[in-house]
Symmetry: C2
Subunit: 411 residues, 2 copies
């Protein structure tokens, strides 16, 4: 079946917002077997919207519309689409009552223009909106399906996931089973090269690479009748990918590196402290972003100045004088000092030149030393990164997390 | 003049990437006076691409194309657009030579398919690509203008800014002068309400609100003949906005809150240390993201556990026992302890419940205490935030920066 996406909204045409709705919907249509040939964005203008609707309904079986479902006069999508399908909207009393209650509960005035949001063609499937006032709906006529969704992503995403996906699965006769493999340590081009025969011969399951900051994820998606069949279809491909790529695959359930470390530390009842120079709080902040981090995270220290490295972490002034702050020796003393003074089992430390200034001939901008102190040993790794300051800091944090998760794997 | 945007790429149709190119281009077309009625995305398919190109060229004066300029067989944009305009592409020897050198310098093999990137219609304006191999181009025929740009944003953005903007300014007879006012302390709806008469009656300059995480920015844009005239046109509106909104406008040159604090600290030769609990390194990390932060930032401490608050920051155990870690008293002692032990002039501290768990009846999830210690005084502010953990932490950091910049303003 052929599907397309029509986004309605002047704010999209003007570039005031980026069209994440279209991406979200497209990501979910393709794996279900829908062929998506066009995305179109058009403003809140009857004439142009009507032309776009007619063209879309003519050339596609399923058209997903976003935006223009609100209460104001320039919210035209529902009326225009209904008219193109030869349907007329009418007030649905139960919806009007629901809306009136919604306003009453919140103490808002219920103005008559809101009744627009309670009007639908007879027989349309009304999609409840858990995060806003405008419901979505599905209209069908002459073998064409129009799915109308609200524009704001926080309303659209859950509505799509909870109400549209089951409908589309039924329509296509397919169910989706999906697993995300996350990989740190090789670039996208290397990974797709090493998996090229799998990627080229894919039918079901499919595998699609996505690039994230500093890492790659592979989404393995199986068309299936139920979860059990999906799992059976996906398992051999996941095993094959892992056997080729090895331990650079750090998660098969879509966990991030900080989440993986957090889970392992919690499961092993280990504690962590972090001493950061060039990453400057980024590692600690990514751990604190995880609910429940207090079970393993004791403290973090951003020892940005040399003085702080000495006073807070017990780095020897002689080490700084002899080797400099960006050195294996300094990273080691930072991690060991942090571990001792915090009482944590593990301590991570980073020191490096994030740029744009700084660096030496031996250790140019992008050079990073990461140390991991644990009972009985301290490991230090030297990493060479390139790019802008923000990129170097983000990649540095990933390398630190990867060092930690590799060690925790062996426990 | 009527303009539209056509994005070519299967990766967009499949939702593998979000269409930031279309947003970037739209943001720049509208203020120059171009009316943008459509964005279309289509795949690398000759038949459908040809249909889309013909429709776009027919209904618009200027069509901006993105993607499909590479060396492979499914990069079809240039040939298809040229053919729709009645033009034919031919090899441009100087471009071929430039490309050959480009490959040679980098030690890459120069395969013949790369010559596709050196072919253009006679008379086309070739747009150099500083970050990739495929140049863009501008073709004109029968009063229609087609602007072809590479898909990757890091290639497109600078090419558009450096080569397309001057062309479009000339084509439209307009120049743009733009200033970004950044605002923290009121929401978008309140701000647009307070400025509604300005927004409704805007002609030149225009003012457009954009929402960022926890703050609002207003872009004031003047159509003008030159920078001086633009500045003269924009100044009265900027003054009027500031006189209405007051000191919640913290920058008129698009600086972020951390950048504003960093600049003020540097200019005043003041130093800062940061003690974080619920924000967990976020404040420090946003400062370390700014090049040159070592001139003012001495250190940061993430005292996530109570034990760390006592041992690292000198918070009294009695304070924790009596008032708890999320209290005015604890925030005050964190900031004062940090200031004393670091030797910094200023110290910022945060403590709060970021959720999803924790909180008390008196201080529910979202309650935050921020303290600022400086010579002679310590200020403490209580803030009530709502939403998810990530939102609470981000807003908490903004409140802390705002507290600091307000105090630095008075120095």
């Amino acid at each position: 079946m052929i599907a397309e996406i029509v986004s309605v909204g002047t704010e999209l045409l003007m570039g005031q917002v980026v069209n994440t709705d279209a991406q979200f919907i497209a990501q979910r249509l393709a794996p279900l077997g829908f062929q998506v040939f066009y995305h179109t964005t058009v403003g809140d203008n009857v004439k142009r919207l009507t032309a776009v609707v007619h063209q879309a309904v003519e050339r596609s079986d399923v058209v997903v519309f976003t935006g223009g479902l609100g209460p104001t006069d320039d919210d035209l999508t529902k009326e225009t689409v209904a008219s193109a399908l030869g349907l007329t909207v009418e007030l649905i009393p139960e919806e009007a009552e629901r809306l009136r209650k919604h306003f009453e509960t919140r103490g808002y005035a219920f103005t008559p223009n809101n009744l627009k949001q309670a009007s639908f063609p007879k027989g349309a499937i009304i999609l409840p909106n858990a995060f806003g006032t405008a419901p979505g709906c599905i209209m069908t006529a002459e073998n064409k399906t129009a799915i109308l969704l609200p524009g704001p992503p926080r309303e659209l995403f859950p509505m799509f996931q909870n109400h549209v996906m089951p409908y589309l699965e039924q329509l296509s006769g397919n169910k989706l089973y999906s697993r995300e493999l996350r990989i740190f340590g090789k670039g996208e081009s290397t990974i797709t090269y090493e998996l090229s025969d799998i990627i080229e011969s894919q039918t079901n399951p499919t595998v699609a690479p996505y690039v994230k900051t500093g890492e790659v994820s592979l989404r393995v998606t199986a068309l299936c009748q139920n979860e059990e069949e999906g799992e059976q279809l996906a398992r051999p491909m996941i095993s094959e990918i892992i056997s080729r790529l090895g331990d650079i695959v750090y998660s098969t359930v879509g966990e991030s590196l900080p989440e993986t470390c957090a889970r392992m530390l919690t499961d092993d009842r280990q504690t962590l402290a972090v001493a950061e120079s060039c990453t400057g709080g980024l590692i600690t902040s990514e751990l604190v972003a995880i609910p429940g981090c207090s079970t393993f995270l004791l403290e973090g220290c951003v020892a940005y100045s040399d003085a702080a490295k000495v006073s807070r972490l017990g780095v020897n002034q002689a080490t700084l004088d002899t080797f400099g702050a960006v050195s294996e020796q300094c990273a080691r003393e930072m991690a060991e000092g942090m571990r001792l003074s915090s009482g944590a089992n593990y301590a991570l430390a980073t020191t490096g030149f994030a740029g744009p200034d700084g660096g030496t001939e031996e250790n140019p901008v992008g050079t990073l030393y990461i140390a991991l102190a644990r009972p009985g040993e301290t490991l230090v790794k030297r990493v060479s990164l390139f790019g802008e300051r923000a990129r170097i800091r983000e990649h540095a944090a990933l390398h630190a997390f990867d060092m930690l998760r590799r060690k925790l794997c062996l426990e």
